[in-house]
Structures are given as structure tokens and as C-alpha cells.
């Protein structure tokens, strides 16, 4: 009897030690990656990174045009994707909460949410780049918008579903039509959560590379023309990191540092926003 007990305790101890080890393993990677990123990226971080254009091979330069390009693409993608996402999410949580369309859309949306982003790039290439005959910043923005939509749909629906029904009923009892109830009551109650969703979407697309590779392509020069290829940070990192030139590789690390900390800052802000909501 005692031997059995000892064996059970031993097995338990082994499992528990393993689970602690697994957790340190997981967190260790995070520390390791961020550490290397800081180490490699900080040494190249200077004002000229934000003030100069991407250099030709073997010369010094900065990342101004890809940073600007990334900003433009992200803002455009959010402007295109967010309204569609919010409207679709509104339908699913409000008008069509019990309609069969909603459950189909929810299923499809969840699949789009984790579909490979490179396929989105191929899709936009087929419907925009190939017919237009050239790569363009606009196509890149639309590709990113396709990634924004499912994220926003999901959070909007979830957040609107959290709005207590008595609020809707009280507003309806005053004789207000649904559109006013949604606009002035539901959206207001769900605002923090919906903003969180948009922030998460921005975090998601600001590091996306695959959908931009054959839509926005890349541009070594300063260009704000949406109809021409446009540089973006992730694509420049991809190109520079795989190059044999030291200066380019250094810029790639610096760009990686900028992206990562932007993304982490965004997701931490989003988390804080949704955390302050919870107790209420």
C-alpha cells in the first residue's frame, strides 16, 4: 500500500515539475526573442532611421519610406475594413441575432480569421493586381482590409452580445426604433470593447508581410502614390534580412524592433482597455 502511494506521489511530482518546466520554456522564448531583438535593434536605432530613405546596397540610410508606407497602408486598411466589420458584427448581434445567416457568417468569419494570410495576397493579386496590370499600394491596403474585417466582426459581435438586454428593452419602451437603440445605446455601452477590436486588428496587420508581397510589393523611393508600388516595413525587413549586406541586415533588425514594440504596445493597450471594462 505504501509503495503504491509513493509511486503515485512520485508520478505527480514528475508531472508537476514538467509543467513548471514547460511554462519556463514558453516564457523563456518570449524573453529570448525580445532580448535578441533589443540587443540587435537598439544598436542601429538612431534618428537617421526615421529621417532617411532606404539605402542602396552597401550605403547607410534609414527606414523613412517604409515606415510612412506602413502607416498609410494600415490607416487605409482600417478605414476600409472597420466600417464593414462593424456593420456585419452589428447585424449578427442585433438585427439577425437568431437568423440562420448569422450562424453561417459566424462560422465562415472564424475560418477567415485564421486563414493563411498568403492566400489573401493571392486573392487580391487575382482580383486587383492582375486586372490593373501593376502592383499598387491600394491593392496592399485592400489585402490588409480583408484581414481586418474578420477581427472586427468577431469583437463587435462579442461586445454587442455582452450589452445587457434590459438596456435595449428600456430604450425600445421609449418608442425608439432599432437604429437609434443600436447607435445611441448599444454602441455606447460596447465602445471600449469595439475599440479594443480595432486596436487588435491594427496590431495584427502592422506585422503582416505575406499579403503585401505581391500586392503593394516594395518601393525603394519615397512615394505616396497609391497607384504605384509602395514600401512597407515588413516587406523591407524581409528583403533586407535575406540580403548579404551588413547595413541592410542592421536596418532589418531595427525595423523588426520598431514593429514588434508597436505591436506589443497596441496589444497591451487593447488588453488594458478590455480589462477596465470587466468589473462593471
Amino acid at each position: 500500500m505504501n509503495r503504491l502511494y509513493a509511486a503515485r506521489r512520485r508520478r505527480n511530482a514528475v508531472a508537476m515539475v514538467l509543467s513548471v518546466a514547460a511554462t519556463t520554456f514558453g516564457i523563456g522564448w518570449l524573453a529570448l526573442i525580445l532580448g535578441v531583438l533589443l540587443w540587435e535593434g537598439l544598436s542601429g536605432l538612431s534618428l537617421s532611421v526615421f529621417a532617411e530613405m532606404t539605402p542602396p546596397p552597401g550605403a547607410a540610410g534609414g527606414l523613412l519610406n517604409p515606415i510612412m508606407g506602413s502607416l498609410i497602408l494600415t490607416v487605409l486598411a482600417v478605414l476600409i475594413g472597420t466600417p464593414i466589420g462593424i456593420l456585419a458584427g452589428t447585424y449578427m448581434a442585433e438585427y439577425g441575432r437568431y437568423s440562420p445567416l448569422t450562424s453561417i457568417v459566424r462560422f465562415i468569419n472564424d475560418i477567415l480569421l485564421s486563414a493563411p494570410s498568403i492566400v489573401v495576397g493571392l486573392f487580391i493579386y487575382e482580383v486587383m493586381v492582375a486586372p490593373m496590370g501593376h502592383f499598387s499600394g491600394l491593392a496592399g491596403a485592400v489585402a490588409l482590409a480583408v484581414i481586418v474585417i474578420p477581427v472586427v466582426v468577431r469583437t463587435t459581435e462579442d461586445m454587442l452580445l455582452l450589452v445587457p438586454n434590459p438596456l435595449r428593452e428600456a430604450a425600445a419602451a421609449l418608442g425608439l426604433p432599432r437604429v437609434v437603440v443600436i447607435g445611441r445605446v448599444c454602441y455606447r455601452a460596447a465602445k471600449a470593447g469595439m475599440v479594443t477590436g480595432v486596436l487588435l486588428a491594427i496590431a495584427r496587420i502592422s506585422g503582416e508581410t505575406a499579403p503585401l508581397l505581391f500586392t503593394a510589393l516594395n518601393n525603394q523611393f519615397w512615394s505616396l502614390d497609391l497607384n504605384a508600388p509602395m514600401a512597407s516595413l515588413p516587406v523591407v525587413i524581409f528583403q533586407f534580412a535575406l540580403s548579404p549586406y551588413k547595413e541592410w541586415q542592421q536596418l532589418a533588425w531595427t525595423g523588426a524592433l520598431i514593429i514588434t514594440f508597436t505591436v506589443l504596445a497596441l496589444s497591451i493597450i487593447a488588453r488594458m482597455l478590455s480589462a477596465t471594462r470587466k468589473p462593471s
Binding site: R11, Y95, G96, I118, L122, R178, F238, A241
Partner: protein
């Protein structure tokens, strides 16, 4: 009624009434406008929801349309042929398909046990005040863009593996019959094994956060009953928590698998991009997404482009099936909890 500042919404309808009966037409006009606005907004939101469906069908139709020339030229052979020769324009998808499946499988082999153990730690062992920070740290791993994993894998992780793990594997298993095939060849650093390890780190947060959520959904009464009859923590996890959470865990694993199959940038950096099938996991290989990312902009000729789009279609079909299965399983567990 005051009209300064923000007017209460009720005013929209009622303030016309202040004058008494004379205002009735104005009131009904306002009501009409609201009714129209409501109907319009209803249709608008419905169109947007339908837009999501259109988006998916658009993806499928455009991929099929774009890949037609490749299917016409190669037919079913495209799936079982491993030649990939842009010069003679002979294309077959077997090598990328093989690479995709092998890297994803190896990644899951590592990530699933580790992810489950982390969830066990978070739900059973971890002191309450530590739970949130650790949970957030693991989820931040999911937030790091995949290109960062790529550049890190190429410059830091691959050289590290080349000097440590890979020579070790070759030394230990290189002369064991059977296993020697798996670990044959020089340590390149980059290759299938490296890609799998990077993928494992990337999908770890997905598996962890979902299995933690389903572990937490296990009714405390069940666990308390098990503890009450003298079970150890491990026995509670093994015989109560895991069986209860099985469906959800499988859903989370499938979700992670969907990610691993479709992951592009991180893999592109470290897989080596060699269109061949070799038994050794130390050898360079390629995956569907890495092939597309590497070759698409340089592809000349319709058949080449079309073959790459056909690869995209295959990838989409595989991930669609995996993700649909994952969502279905997770939906089932949501219904049970709700």
C-alpha cells in the same frame, strides 16, 4: 424642451409635439424618417454580413480561376508529381505539400504537450497573483509578427541549432539503423527541423490559451470530488480535467494546426527552399506558403504563376478543412458550457 447641448434621443420624436395637435403631421413625418432610417440600416448591416460570405466565395473562386491553366496542363498529376522545374515548365506540388505537412506535424508534436502542460500549470499550480502576468506573457508570444520569428530564426536560432542540437542528433542517432535516415546529412542549420521548432514556438500560445480556457470551464465540483477521494493533482488532471475538456483541447490543437499549416514568413526564412523530398529532417525543404512567398513575384509565364496559385488553392483547401473541424469542435463545447 431644451435644445442646448446634447439632446436626449427621445426629443427626436417628441419635441415636435410641444405645440399640441397642430404638430401632428410633423411628428408623423419624423417617425417615417426614423422608420426608413431603421430599414436602411437593417439592410446595410445585412449586406455587410453577407459581404463576409462573398469574401470567402471570392477567395475560392479567384483561386480556382487563377489556377485553371495549371490544372489543365497537369491535371491530377499536379498533386502527386514532385518535379518543380521553372525552366522546362514542369510543375508538381508534392514536395511543398510534403514539407507543409511534415513541418506542421513536427511542430504539433512539440507544441501540444508543452502547451497542455503550461495550461495545467496555469490552472492548477500557479498562485493566483501570477496567473494573469504569465497568461499575458504567453499571449504576447502570439502577438509577435511572424516575420520577427523569421529573422530571429535565421540569424540566431538556426546557427545555434547548427552548432548544438543538430550535431548532437547526428551523433546519437546517425548510426542507429532506421533512425539514421531521419537524421542524415550535414547540419545545415536551416531546414525542416528548424522550421518545425520555430512553428512550434509560434503555435504554442494558441494551444495554451484555448486549453487553459477549456480547463477553467471544468466544473470545480468535479475536481473537488476527485481531490476529496485522495487524488493527486496529476490524477485530477489526467482522469477528470482532460477527459472533460477533451473536445475543446482537440479544437484548440486543430486551430494551432491550421496556423502551422498556413504560416508563411517565419518558415520562408528558415526552411531552405529546396524542392525535394528527403527523409532527413535536417535537410532543407520547402512548404506551400514558402514556395509562393519566394517565387511568386519572380514567376515568369502564365503556367508558373498559375501553378503557384494552384498551390495556394491546395493550401486553402487543407487549412479550410482543418479550421472548419476545429470550429465545429469548439462550437460543440461552447454549447455545452453555455
Amino acid at each position: 424642451m431644451q435644445s442646448t447641448g446634447r439632446r436626449p434621443v427621445v426629443d427626436l420624436v417628441l419635441n415636435g409635439d410641444a405645440a399640441g395637435f397642430g404638430a401632428m403631421p410633423a411628428r408623423s413625418k419624423r417617425l417615417d424618417r426614423l422608420r426608413w432610417g431603421d430599414a436602411l440600416f437593417h439592410q446595410l448591416t445585412r449586406a455587410a454580413a453577407a459581404g463576409v460570405l462573398i469574401l470567402l466565395s471570392g477567395v475560392i473562386i479567384s483561386l480556382i480561376h487563377g489556377s485553371l491553366p495549371a490544372w489543365r496542363a497537369f491535371g491530377f498529376n499536379f498533386l502527386i508529381e514532385d518535379r518543380w522545374n521553372p525552366v522546362t515548365e514542369k510543375f508538381g506540388a508534392l514536395a511543398p505539400i510534403y514539407g507543409t505537412i511534415v513541418t506542421a506535424f513536427l511542430a504539433m508534436l512539440i507544441a501540444v504537450p508543452v502547451g497542455l502542460l503550461i495550461s495545467v500549470f496555469l490552472t492548477e499550480l500557479c498562485p493566483l497573483w501570477l496567473r494573469r502576468p504569465i497568461g499575458i506573457a504567453i499571449e504576447l508570444l502570439a502577438g509577435i509578427p511572424s516575420i520577427i520569428y523569421g529573422i530571429w530564426g535565421l540569424f540566431v536560432f538556426a546557427p545555434f541549432l547548427q552548432q548544438t542540437l543538430q550535431p548532437f542528433l547526428i551523433e546519437v542517432f546517425g548510426y542507429v539503423p532506421g533512425l539514421s535516415l531521419l537524421f542524415a546529412g550535414p547540419p545545415y542549420g536551416i531546414g525542416i527541423l528548424t522550421a518545425s521548432l520555430v512553428l512550434a514556438i509560434m503555435v504554442l500560445p494558441f494551444i495554451t490559451s484555448i486549453s487553459r480556457d477549456v480547463f477553467e470551464a471544468v466544473p470545480p465540483v468535479l475536481k473537488e470530488a476527485a481531490y476529496g477521494v485522495g487524488c493527486t493533482t496529476w490524477e485530477v488532471v489526467r482522469y477528470v480535467v482532460l477527459p472533460y475538456a477533451r473536445v475543446g483541447v482537440i479544437g484548440g490543437v486543430m486551430l494551432g494546426l491550421g496556423r502551422a499549416l498556413g504560416e508563411t514568413m517565419a518558415v520562408t526564412f528558415v526552411i531552405g527552399n529546396a524542392h525535394r523530398i528527403s527523409a532527413s529532417i535536417l535537410a532543407p525543404g520547402t512548404t506551400i506558403s514558402a514556395t509562393i512567398a519566394n517565387e511568386f513575384t519572380e514567376a515568369v509565364g502564365d503556367l508558373y504563376t498559375s501553378s503557384l496559385i494552384a498551390l495556394g488553392l491546395i493550401l486553402f483547401a487543407i487549412t479550410f478543412i482543418v479550421l472548419a473541424a476545429a470550429r465545429y469542435l469548439l462550437l460543440r463545447i461552447e454549447r455545452r458550457i453555455g
